[in-house]
Each structure stands twice: as structure tokens, then as C-alpha cells.
Amino acid sequence: MVPSKKEALSENGRAGLLPALKDRAGREGSLNRESMSGLAGQYHLPLNEVYGVSTFYAFLPVLPTGKNIIRVCRCLPCHLKDAQAVIGSIKKELGIAPGETSRDGKFSFELVSCIGACDQAPAMMINDKLYGDLTPAGIAEILKSY
């Protein structure tokens, strides 16, 4: 995983940066100052550069997240199928609004762009698992399994 200095400074030395950031974020939930500084060192980049890359991508959180991340689609096909009601149901179940993490640290809740499941709208992902054809009433059951 760790590139040699020569590799890191080569023309395409940064190629591994995104996978490395994803790997870190995947294992630690989010990217903190320490992990970013570490990667900055490995890739011979200033911290601000690594920070700039991380904050660009939606799946590289820089703030602590819950153990599980709920991502509800808010785009048109889901919106037409009343994603709003599903969002309301999650708010009620967890007592948090989009952008927040539940007190027990179990869930973070986000609204995201189309996840490519519009034929099963409304849809959401919890971590990497897709849930489609959601109903407000079905939310509690799904959340219970985590």
C-alpha cells in the first residue's frame, strides 16, 4: 500500500491517494488530522492538498460519523415517490436531522444525490447495502437490523 519515495514523487505518484484515503475512511469511519497527515507524508504532499482532495468527495467524511451511514436519495425520481416521507420517518426513528449523528453513535444520516436505484424509488443505502421501494412504515424494521 505505502508507496516508496521514488514512486510517490514520480509523475503519477498520486494515483494511489484516493484509494488510500478511501481505505482509511472505510476502516476508521472518517479521516482525521492524524490520518491525513500520515498520508500527506507518504505521498510527499502538503496537508492542505490532502485536505482539499478529501473534502471534495462525498464518501470521504472529515468529521466523525456514526458506525453506520444512512444515505437517503433526494433526487427527482425518489422525490416523486415521496422520499420526503421516508426522510421524516428516519428523523422520527432516530431523533436526528440529515447531517447529524445519533447520540449513541450508531447512525449518521445524510441526504445524497441519485444512487442509481430510481426504478426502486424511494431508495437509500446503509453503508454499502441498497434498500429500495421504501415505505415510511418499513423504516423501523430496517434500522433495527443494525
Partner: protein, 418 residues
């Protein structure tokens, strides 16, 4: 009219995890033919003659693009498969990757021979992470069969950014940078990934290649319309009873797709091509779907008569504002200002000047934005103003009425008065 399945012909009839089932259906015969019997120039000539065009949105002639990269002199060349599929309402590439990964890989193998690439990447959006392992395994099976001696294929996963579907942003992303678009020229076939000649094609574009090699350019170009050859795979969602993926001959009408196949009734409008797509009234259902008319990525969202067009465009704009890379002024600032206007219109706080502002902003963004996102962000705004102007006027008149009768309290919530 029925579907015409070419790209999707093997979906459902093979085991996507077993290359044997793909080969049993004639898979890799095109690659073997291209490798053993055709020179790279001949492959390119065939693809060029077939009239195959890009299915990712822009509709550029695929063979012509390949030729530019083939002719470029460089120490290395790259092939990229764009599987970022972030356009709202599009899920056809997911369907293809789930059901027939070998078809894509065979197309890539042939493209690699044609342009002379030694390294290829499949840029897979993070949201399709569940496809990562199956794809890597499929590539592994192809490698074991010895079909990847000329080029290696690596699956590269994105990290959640719609703009990374734009070709130059995608390259920046692979290079470990922020996924921002680059100005053009230079174009990727001459200077792309790491400054080297690069061909980037959509999943569906590459899926067509083995069929063209097997059946010939004449067979392919007999299907479709003047400038749009072959078929198109559509993703249909919204107010339809049978949402899903449908493959039709180019030039089929909107009505055949949305009403005939997907089962819409009581339509008010459709949006074609995602959040940056055209919004057409139901009176235009007889429009054929092709590059000459409307196509984009093939996403079609049906809107029934109960739908509010301003709400639709507001939702589109919300997406575009979230996903703008922020590099250039017109798109970064323009989507934000437009979203503010749509928010006010929806809350019943709009005024006549808003229509002029939207029009001026849209026209500015369309011509001055750095990349296709900002340029096309104007499309739903201009179309809705064109075909549903009265909806805007009614909304603004209602706003005047409501404002003079009710206190502002009712409208303070983010969601508006819906």
C-alpha cells in the same frame, strides 16, 4: 413496438460470474476475430463506418475518437471505461455491469487493440461498490483465458462525486486530485490521463463494439436513424407503472418508450437526460429519441399531471448545486443563485423579476461555464420557462395573493408550502 435487444442480448441468459456461459453464447468470438484477423486500423475503420456514437451523453463518433488516439504519438496510451453513472434517473450501466460484465470487458479488449492501450481502467462509482468484487473477478477470468495479454484492466472506485463522470474530472480523480473538470482543448484523445492520449467511453458504447465486429458495420448502420445508429438503452422512472431498463432502436418515439413499454398515463411532461435534461410537455410524446432530437444518457423521468414543474426544476437545481465542482464562476455561483430563486418561488415569495434573472443566468451559464455540468444546468430552466411559462406566472401571482393575506409564518419552513 417491442424492444430491440443488442446491448442487452446476453443479460439474463448468462451467469455474470462464469465466463464459460458467456463464451458458450458466442462471447469473445469478436475479440478473437479482431485480434487474429484485423489490423488496428481495420477495427477502427469498421467502428467508424458503423456510425457508433458515444452513449454517455455527448454522442461523438466513437471510431473517429479512437482514430485520434491511435494516431497520437506517445509512450503510452490509456483506455477508460466510464462507469460513474451519476446522472439522475440513470441506472442502465448498473444493469449491464450486474448482468453482463464480460460483454463490457470484451468491448474494452477490442478497444485496447484498436487504440494501442496497455492499461485500462473501469471507473466505478462508489455507490456501486457491490459490483466491485464481481467486476474484479470477471476481469480475472478474462485474464486467465489469455484475452488480456495486450492490456491490463484495473477497476478504480470513485468516492462520491457526480462531476467525476465528466471525462476530464474523471481523469483528475484517477490521478489522485480533486475531481474538477479541465478546460478543453486539449482533448483526452491527444492529452488525457497523465497527459497521455486517452480514450474514454461509456459502458454502453463499449458493449456495442463486439456486435459490430461480429456482424459488420453495414448491419449496425442499418439500424437507427441518419446520425444515430444502433439502439439505445433507456432508464425509465418516475410516474410509470413499469419503471426499468429498456433497449430500443434509435429513433423510437418517446410515446413507445414511456407509454407503450413503461406504462405511463396521464402525463404532463417528461425529463430526458437527468437533472440537466430537457423537460418536454406531453404534447411532444411523438418525438423520436435520437442524437438529432433528445437523448442524453437515456434517463427518462415521467411526470404526471399532478406534478409541479417548479418543484421539479428546483429539485434538479438542488442536485446540480450539490454536485458543481466549484471551479468556475458561472456554475458555482449561478446554481446557488438559481436555487435561492427556486426556493423563494416554491415558498410563495417569488416576483416577476425572478423570471428575468433565471433567464439571464441560464443563458450566461450555458455559454460561459467551463464544462458540461454548468452549461447544461441551463437546460431544464430554459425548457420549463419555454413550455411551462404559465406555471411560473401562476405561482408568482399566487405569491402576491398569499402574501397579502397571510402572515409569513406559514412559509418559513425549508420545505415550503407543499
Amino acid at each position: 413496438m417491442a424492444e430491440k435487444r443488442i446491448v442487452l442480448s446476453k443479460c439474463g441468459s448468462i451467469d455474470p460470474q462464469d465466463i464459460g456461459t458467456y463464451i458458450a453464447k458466442g462471447g469473445f468470438s469478436a475479440f478473437i476475430k479482431a485480434r487474429d484477423k484485423m489490423k488496428p486500423q481495420a477495427i477502427i475503420a469498421e467502428v467508424k463506418k458503423s456510425g457508433l456514437t458515444g452513449r454517455g451523453g455527448a454522442g461523438f463518433n466513437t471510431g473517429l475518437k479512437w482514430e485520434l488516439a491511435r494516431n497520437a504519438k506517445a509512450k503510452a496510451k490509456y483506455l477508460l471505461c466510464n462507469a460513474d453513472e451519476g446522472e439522475v434517473g440513470t441506472f442502465k450501466d448498473k444493469y449491464i455491469l450486474s448482468n453482463d460484465p464480460f460483454g463490457l470487458i470484451e468491448g474494452m479488449c477490442i478497444a485496447g487493440l484498436a487504440i494501442g492501450a496497455q492499461q485500462a481502467f473501469i471507473y466505478l462509482r462508489n455507490e456501486y461498490h457491490f459490483l466491485y468484487d464481481p467486476l474484479v473477478r470477471a476481469v480475472g477470468q478474462v485474464r486467465e483465458k489469455g484475452y488480456l495479454k495486450h492490456m491490463d484492466i484495473q477497476v478504480f472506485e470513485g468516492a462520491g462525486a457526480y462531476i467525476c463522470g465528466e471525462e476530464s474530472a474523471l481523469m483528475n480523480s484517477i490521478e489522485g486530485m480533486r475531481g474538477e473538470s479541465r478546460y478543453k482543448p486539449p482533448y483526452p484523445p491527444t492529452r488525457g490521463l497523465w497527459g497521455l492520449p486517452t480514450i474514454i467511453n461509456n459502458v454502453e458504447t463499449l458493449m456495442n463494439v463486439p456486435h459490430i465486429i461480429n456482424n459488420g458495420a453495414a448491419w449496425f448502420s442499418a439500424i437507427g436513424t441518419g446520425r444515430s445508429k444502433g439502439t439505445k438503452v433507456f432508464s425509465v422512472s418516475g410516474d410509470v407503472s413499469r419503471p426499468g431498463v429498456y433497449e430500443l432502436e434509435m429513433g423510437s418515439t418517446l410515446r413507445e418508450l414511456v407509454v407503450g413499454l413503461a406504462g405511463a398515463d396521464d402525463l404532463k411532461a417528461v425529463q430526458i437526460g437527468g437533472a440537466t435534461g430537457n423537460i418536454l410537455p406531453a404534447s411532444m410524446l411523438n418525438t423520436p429519441l435520437s442524437h438529432e432530437t433528445y437523448l442524453g444518457s437515456g434517463a427518462v423521468v415521467a411526470l404526471n399531471s399532478g406534478r409541479d414543474i417548479i418543484d421539479v426544476v428546483q429539485n434538479d437545481m438542488h442536485f446540480l448545486n450539490d454536485e458543481s465542482c466549484g471551479k468556475c464562476t458561472p456554475c458555482r455561483e449561478g446554481t446557488e443563485v438559481m436555487l435561492e430563486i427556486f426556493g423563494r418561488l416554491a415558498r410563495g415569495e417569488g416576483h416577476e423579476g425572478d423570471i428575468n434573472s433565471l433567464d439571464a443566468l441560464a443563458r450566461t451559464m450555458a455559454v460561459s461555464s467551463l464544462c458540461g455540468l454548468g452549461q447544461a444546468a441551463a437546460v431544464p430552466v430554459l425548457d420549463s420557462l419555454r413550455y411551462f411559462y404559465n406555471d411560473y406566472i401562476d405561482r408568482i401571482n399566487q405569491s402576491h395573493f398569499l402574501r397579502s393575506y397571510l402572515s409569513g409564518e406559514l412559509f418559513k419552513s425549508e420545505e415550503g408550502i407543499r
